[in-house]
Structure formats: C-alpha cells, structure tokens
Symmetry: C2
Subunit: 453 residues, 2 copies
Amino acid sequence: MARIAPISGFPEWSPAQRIVELQVLDELRQVFELHGFASLETRAVETVEQLLRKGEIDKEVYGVRRLAGDAEATQETPDPGKALALHFDLTVPFARYVLENAGHLQFPFQRYQIQKVWRGERPQEGRYREFLQADIDVVDRDSLPFHYEVELPLVMARAFAGLRRLGLPEMTIRVNNRKLAEGFYRGLGLTDPAAVLRAVDKLDKIGEQGVVGELAGIGIGPDEAAKALALAAIRGTDSSFVDEVRALGVRHDLLDEGLDELAQVVDAAARRAGAGALVADLSIARGLDYYTGTVYETTMAGFEQHGSACSGGRYDALASDGRTTYPGVGISFGVTRVLGLLFGAGLTAARSVPTAVLVALADEAARPVAEQTADRLRDRGISALVAPEPAKFGKQIRFADRRGIPFVWFPGPDADAADGHEIKDIRSGEQSAADPLKWAPEPADATPGVVLG
Amino acid sequence: MARIAPISGFPEWSPAQRIVELQVLDELRQVFELHGFASLETRAVETVEQLLRKGEIDKEVYGVRRLAGDAEATQETPDPGKALALHFDLTVPFARYVLENAGHLQFPFQRYQIQKVWRGERPQEGRYREFLQADIDVVDRDSLPFHYEVELPLVMARAFAGLRRLGLPEMTIRVNNRKLAEGFYRGLGLTDPAAVLRAVDKLDKIGEQGVVGELAGIGIGPDEAAKALALAAIRGTDSSFVDEVRALGVRHDLLDEGLDELAQVVDAAARRAGAGALVADLSIARGLDYYTGTVYETTMAGFEQHGSACSGGRYDALASDGRTTYPGVGISFGVTRVLGLLFGAGLTAARSVPTAVLVALADEAARPVAEQTADRLRDRGISALVAPEPAKFGKQIRFADRRGIPFVWFPGPDADAADGHEIKDIRSGEQSAADPLKWAPEPADATPGVVLG
C-alpha cells in the first residue's frame, strides 16, 4: 500500500482553515476588481529558459517532465527552450504574457493574479515549497505615469482593511524609494550604491555594527556609514521625513527626485486613505535589482519578525522585446505565508462547513419534505444540509454541533406551508416556529466567521 | 532573448474569457456551498507511488524534480515513495487526503474541489495538458446511504441551471447503473460482464456492427449481442424505462437491484427538479472499473460529439486503509474542456475589465477629485477606474470603448456634492447629471455579461 504522509513544504489546510482562506481571497478579489484590475491566470509552467533568463538558479526551480518519457522534455535533451518547469513567482509569467499578447492588450494594463507558485527551498517556518500569491500590477508601454506608484499600495491597503474586518491582524505597508537611497549614497560620494544598499538591507539580521563592518569591507569609512545608518533610521507618516533627511546635509539631484516622489506617495495616501495609510520607512531596500522607484514592504502586527507579508515596487522594464519596453509597478501578497502564521497562532473559522442549517430527518418517509425544506432555504441563499439518515433528534443536534452548524430545523408536513416547522439555535437552545419561505439567519450566522481558536 | 510562444496543451484565457471563467466558477461554488459542500484544496503534487498505485501509467503523469538537484527526487534514485508528480485528477488526491485526515474529518464528508490537474497527453481539440476540474464528492465510513446517488447529480444539475442563466448551453446529465448492466449481462448467461461493457462502451466510436464484431471476438453470439445493444438503446426521463428493459425478457437479481436504483434516481430527480432533470441512458458504461452503482455522464447541447462534460459515479471503495473502507459518490465537471469548446465557438464577456465606470480627467489638478469620485462609487460596490492621464474627452471615451466600459463619468468640483457631475452611457450617447453618492448602474451593466461574440 502507498505510504500516506504529508509532504514537507506542501501545506494543506483543513476545511475550516480553507473557509478562512476563501474569505481572504474573496476580499482581495473584490477590492482588486473594484479598482479595475482584470483577473488573469497563466499556465503553471514556463520554459526553463524563460524562468532562468535572469540567472536566478537560486530560486530552486522545479522541473516538470512526463514520466512516460517525452523526447522534448527528458533530462537527456535538456533544451531550456522546450523543457518545462513550474513558475516560482507570478511576475516572470506576467512579463512573458504581456510580451506574448501585447497586440491584444489595452495599455495601461491592470491585472490581478492569484495563483500557486512553487520553489524547491529547504522548508522552514514560514517557508513553503507550494504557496499562493496574490499579485496586482499595472504595466504600460514605453512610459508609466508616476501616480500608479501611489495607487497600487493604496489598493492593497484597502484590501488589508477588509482583512482586518474579517479578523486578521493589522498590516502596515512601508514605502521607500530607490532613487532616494541611491541619490543619498551618491551624494555621500559612494560609487557603488547597490553594494551599500545590500549591506544596509542586512540591518535587521546583523545589526548596526555588522553593517558598519560590511561597509568598511568595501572601503566605506565610519562617517559615511553613520550617515547611511542615520538615513535608514528615518520613519514618517507624512512628508516631514523630508526635513530629517535634509538635516543629514547630503545633496544630490537623484536624492531630490526620490524625496519628492516618496513625499508625494505618503501625502497622497494620507489625503485619500487617512494619515498613516502608508508609512515612509527609509530602511527598506528590497533585494531585487530591477526596482527603480518606489518600493514596498509590509509588516503584520504581532508577526514583525517574520519579514514582509506583501512586497513590490516600480520597475522601469518589467518586460522588453528589444523594440518596446514595458515599465510597471506591482505588489505581491503572500497569502499562504500569512495564513500559515495565523493558522499556527490558532486562527480558524467558526465551523468546518458552509452550512448554516441542518434539516433534521425523523424517518426516511420524511426525506422528500426535508429535502424540499432545504431547497426553499437554498433558494434564498441559505446553505442547508439534510441529515444523512433518520436518527433521534439528540443525535442530529450532535451532528450539527460537531460541524459548528448553528441551527437545526425540524420540518413540518409541507415545505411550502409554515405549519409545524420549528428551528432550534443549538448554541442558546432556543426553539421557535419558522417558515421555510421566510426565515433567515443573522448575517453573522449565514457565513462562518473567522475566530481565534 | 528567451523565445516567447504558447505551449501546446497549456491554455491561457484572455482577460474577457477569464471573466466568463470566474462567473462559471462563482456559480459552481455558490451552488456547492448552498448544498453544504466544504471547499478543499490539496497540494498539486502526490508521490509517484500514490499516483501509480492502480497501475495507471496511461494517465501520462508529469514528474516534478528540483532542477538544482535533490537526491530524494532525481531520476537516479526513483524511489516512487518519495519522488513527486503532478496530480492527474482530483479523486486520487481526495482519497489520499481522506485516509491521511480521517481522524479529523466528520463523516459523511461532503467536499468540493476546484483545481488544475495535469496530464501529458498528446494535445488535440478538447484535450489539454493543464486543465481545471470542479469535483463534488460525498464519502462516508464503512457504508454510504443510497440517497447521495440522487443528491450529487441534482447538485450539479442546479449548477448547470445557473450556468444556463449566464448564457452557457444546456447540459443534460445522463445516468445509468452498473448493477443494471452487469445483472443484465449475467442474466443473459455472459460470464465476463466487464468485457461486454467495454465493447458496448465503444458504440459511439465503432457503431453497432463494430460492437457485434467485438462481442463475437470474445465468444458472444448474435442473439446476446442484439439484446445487449437493445439494452443500450433504452432512454427515459421517468421510470417507464423499467418496462422496456423487462420486455427484453432477461432476469437476474442484480438487474432488479440496478433497475430499482436507477428508477429511484430518475423519479426522485423528477420530483425535486422537474421531469427530465436527469435522463436514464442505458448506453452509458464509464470506462473506469471502480464504479459500482449509479454512473453519470453529461452532454452539452450543440457539442454532443465532444463527449462527456461532467462524469462520475458511485464507488464502494474510494479509499481503504486495510481496516476501514470509505465508499463514496462523486462527479467531476471539466471546466477547461467546456470553456475551451465555448470560447472556440465565440463565447466571451461584454468587456475585458471588471470596470463599469471610467472617471474622466480634465487635467492633472483634477486628479484628487476624480480619485475621490471613483472611491465613492467603489464604496458602493461599483467598479471604477480613473483615466490614466488627462486627455480630450473624446480620447477618454475611446479608452472606455476599447475595453467595453459602458459609462464615462465627468466629475464636478467636489466628490461629496452632486453639483456638476455628469455621466455618459457611451453606447447610447445619453448624458445626464449624477450624484457620486447615489448613482448606480443597472445590474446587467454592473458586472460584464457573457455574450456570444
């Protein structure tokens, strides 16, 4: 017999956890669509060539080949232009999709994409080999208006406000600007701003002294290192951070441009969504080299040490076919990563089924009326289930209780007449007459709520 | 530069087609949940051992291994208990999930599962290598009440009624019973009913004479072959088919049991969902050996020659751990297969974006009010987009028109006051005053409709 066991790094949620996940995905989708983002799904596989074109073998790509043997995909003929592999993010497939379909798309093109991705990393807490990402991106041809760098994180912030109402912790989107940091380092006279950025990005892991040491290793003296660290310490929920940066006494045109853009992002966000909607955090570097303007990271209250829950930024060239360049701005929410942390902390749904009402069954002869009664409730959007077999009512109440179903319905003789029907709230024990054509649960009971178990 | 091209058998829908797919999935999910089915997602991979345990190498399984090399998954050490492969259906993963989690599940366990599956088949019309399936199953421990064999196809039939309202063709679920056919063949004195069933199952492909020839090849004479074909010709929307079978003069206990069950299914369906809700079709065999009772197939009006859109049946042992057996009944809808056919016939959505309203932008100074106006609409569930850049209104109307957005909004000076706001229906050209806090589109315009393009 085949061994039955979990596979490390490939999580599977319980039915109650899956209810939470669906509510999260519904909220994300609703907000994305209200803001005009079109849904897109790309195939799970890309060519190996496409996935590795930036030399990212460290992504631990999963190759895919037919077990039955297929000359075009076997290990023996590893033509990277034909061999297939599972995508490791949604950005590379989106860039390929845009190039492949540019002639049929309307630009600027706003899409959201909620799909599983796969990475063959060593599994550890908060790291998965299969996980769900929810991405929004805007991509344009040749040039992309700056205002999308404000718009994108605000769309995510609205989705997070919805998740907060569901019962998830508060998420804070933190913004910085690559021009600001690069201009500051250049203003300090440092010639390799990318190397400085990489060192400062390790601040959380190695501390201030560690960063100073790393910077010394690439020939940067203590004064410049102190200024770089002072810049990284600046935070703000309005554009007053600009004065703090100015007070460090560094001047550079690119710094001015970055300060102006970051101030615009923070101020516009405060105007549209309230103060603190986005927080300027000048320590944010983002490891990826292709960001060229605003960059985003997100901390989840209570889980700050687990890193960013949602990240992204502006890239001047998401894709290019040699003639046309497609700049974009995107932000990616790690659904599985966030839910894994929250499920680990006990978050779950109030029940393991969508069902609000169990229709009891006195005997097999009553099944047609019980089914019709359930159908009348379903016709009005109420999830209902008929008891699988006739049983004493106490047993049927236990059946509902084990699943978290709040109501048990005792049908009368006719599903289309109110006479003789009763409903019991099994939490309070309260029982009362009810009409299959009129009764409805409170909204909070119609759909399972999210609870901290 | 990496080559950019479609990969045969891995379909990607356009944004407008994806809108249709989402509406189809929403309808399926809503109906499944109203009937108490819990959502489940299993990981995309199973162990090779698990996938091949029934010797189904003909499923053309896709193996998965880290390109970077991982001793436990390389071709050199093909331990089928550890090597991974993509699932080729949702039934095998569900059976594994039930065994793995039996101690935490409440039985009977009703789940729906909507996920991609992968098969390395030669691509051809209507055959994909990556495709979306929507399955519902009920599984119980030791025994499963018969009434679920009626319930399951009726849930699917209700989902299909919803798809019909969306604009998809009519789907007809056809039912048969394995006991009926087996009992009939045994009553005829035939000792290998499975072989007879396999021959009769080819009726559509090889015709009556072909089936007679195949049956002759396994030693079955013309009289018995004629009776087997007469049985397969019987159809009915009520239990009158029973008399037609009886008239063939064959008697067997298993035949009686099958006739009784099939009559119950058809009659109960007619009672709950109207005559013809399910059609008895005694030609249906289903190739798979594990069905033991009612079996289902589905034809889509206008696409009958493309085979079954939705199939399933009753199995006495979906899963077993040696001590406990889990019988079930399930039915699987081929979402990608059906949509591929319909998209090929021109089905699409009325627009390529979720957006109902484009808010026009006279100049960059008007952006804050335009954004607030869009936000007021979004607050009330209306999908809105602000024009990406200021432009002449004619250009903005063309922007909306190219995406199928029906309305263009011309904002007044203040998003929170009605003064000066106007909205234009760009299809009729009609323009009128509108209040950002009150105006709403007709429901038919709020969400993109499905149209035959």
